[in-house]
Chain length 237, copies 2
């Protein structure tokens, strides 16, 4: 496999391009090596492949190496709720720690690859490397504040504000990965966007339409070009 292939599984944490965003973030070279020893790099996943399903025994948390992953729950009455979109460098699966079972299911939204981090090993390592313990507490806390942002969004904001907020979030996360904040491809369908934001597909489609008419966006299927980032930011607040 080509070293430049984004789904390459031959790299280790020290060489991984997501290095500066991912779990190694706060660690020293020597510590990264120890982390690297417990990380299992998986084969590439095809679209709609599951990484885990709700109810399965929790063993590991995961980091996105390439592609994009969505998390979702299914309630008693069978209604799905998308709870998160995960981009390269981001960690997911922490919902499983509490009950020792995943409460979410996770699937690839496109061809993707993930790193598996066995949680027992991570806990042991966190005792040996307090920085790692702290860092992981921080990651979980940020997941909490993220979820609370979404709660506020769903509780208080209009359809346009919700869509704008998602676009700004993706734009910001792209910036962090040194990608263009104004030109990107949405990895998820309109249905996923609507589900995540508590809107119907039709409403999402209409909002995109309005944003285009106001010369704020250029939308071509999943390709997005943000023409007026400032106006979009204001809407997202």
């Amino acid at each position: 496999m080509d070293a430049k292939c984004p789904h390459n599984s031959e790299v280790n944490c020290g060489d991984c391009r997501m290095n500066a965003l991912c779990l190694p973030l706060a660690l020293q070279a020597k510590e990264v090596e120890r982390l690297d020893e417990i990380v299992q790099r998986g084969r590439p996943l095809q679209r709609d492949n599951h990484i885990y399903r709700a109810g399965e025994e929790f063993r590991s948390v995961y980091a996105v190496r390439s592609g994009s992953i969505k998390s979702y729950t299914v309630s008693n009455d069978g209604v799905e709720q998308v709870t998160g979109f995960h981009l390269p460098g981001e960690i997911f699966g922490m919902d499983g720690i509490g009950q020792n079972r995943y409460t979410n299911s996770a699937t690839a939204m496109e061809t993707s690859s993930v790193c598996e981090i066995p949680f027992n090993r991570l806990q042991e390592l966190s005792i040996a490397i307090p920085t790692l313990q702290r860092h992981f507490f921080q990651l979980m806390s940020m997941e909490i504040t993220n979820d609370q942002h979404l709660i506020t969004l769903l509780s208080k904001n209009s359809a346009e504000e919700r869509v704008a907020t998602l676009l700004i979030s993706i734009s910001n996360r792209n910036l962090r990965r040194k990608l263009s904040p104004t030109r990107f491809r949405l990895p998820m369908s309109r249905a996923d966007i609507g589900n995540y934001l508590g809107l119907t597909v039709e409403t999402v489609s209409r909002v995109f339409g309005r944003f285009q008419k106001q010369d704020m966006l250029l939308v071509d299927k999943k390709e997005i070009e943000v023409l007026d980032l400032e106006k979009l930011r204001q809407l997202a607040n």
Copy 2:
């Protein structure tokens, strides 16, 4: 101060009535003693007193000993969002870990008392007592899944379902504390309920009205009697 006073600050973790629900949950007697050494028991708080405010430096997480606490965020445009209600035995303040600043503010909804747990000390202790580390990871994870339940509720459920879900949640948490699951006093105002559930005060009031007309509840101001727990459960799903 009377040993039976619920706001008594003279007890230690080993003797505290919340013992079986709170942080000590998974610990052995000897370990509880060590936890006890770092816990600071505060003076009783009056209604509307703040424990901390959003933006303040994060130092500690807190446990409710008596009374009830609400967490809320304020967005850029000044809109408040209630993010949680905390009852005795529950931990709050974990949102501050990620950025080393609280993202929520926390106030007492009635006369209350809380235990302050300095986070640096808790981290150190977590290294010495792996069970504690695990337990705290679990607590944070359960905060995540709680928030995700709320996300689903806001995204997919009607006003009646939302109110029913809140009532069932409080009922269940009362049961855990060996209190009646069918007769209790809501510590929060209608405005807080509405804010938390993404509804207006008027809608909350009307839903309570409808529930009463259907002989599901008996509502007298903040006093609630659940007459048909099963029907309420079904609505809450």
